[in-house]
Symmetry: C2
Subunit: 101 residues, 2 copies
């Protein structure tokens, strides 16, 4: 699996709005056949920091996700909420194996 962690810090006044926009994006993203999981987490010691954990079955899936309407909607909706540029880190799965996602 190709796992992408997207780190986001939002302006404090947008915490609720960011959650709402990301929930919508996650629901739609899970309908994509190449996406196995799309988790949204909020940092415990800093509620303005979020992590999106996107688990793709294929490399093509990562490109296709960026072409979807729901991704573009999320990207544009959250752009003014960000306190700093998004960063991301890519991982591969050691455990579980691909069947476990």
């Amino acid at each position: 699996m190709l796992i992408v962690h997207v780190q986001v810090r939002v302006k404090p006044e947008f915490i609720a709005a960011f959650k709402e926009a990301s929930l919508e994006n996650a629901h739609h993203s899970l309908q994509e056949p190449d996406i196995a999981r799309f988790d949204v987490m909020q940092q415990a010691d800093d509620p303005a920091r979020f992590l999106l954990v996107e688990v793709y079955r294929t490399l093509e899936g990562t490109a296709r996700h960026k072409e979807t309407w729901h991704y573009a909607t999320w990207r544009d909706k959250v752009a003014p909420m960000l306190a700093e540029s998004r960063t991301s880190v890519k991982y591969s799965n050691v455990f579980p194996a691909d069947e476990g996602w």
Copy 2:
């Protein structure tokens, strides 16, 4: 859910050994009733960096995990493999809800 991300950087010669020790820990940890997931990921652009994603159902579960034999075995086995101290970040789940883990 209480989600703990443990960031690890190992000395390059211990990459395979760290994977093996962490796989064993992950298999045993999944037997704990309060652990929903225990993922091990390897960073794509730096194979000496790993991330353990531990998803707990309860706060007590995080304490109980640290009391297990398999945790102590992993901790002691990987200690000499580390290139720097482990760090961790705690999250709560925004999506999916608790039933989705």
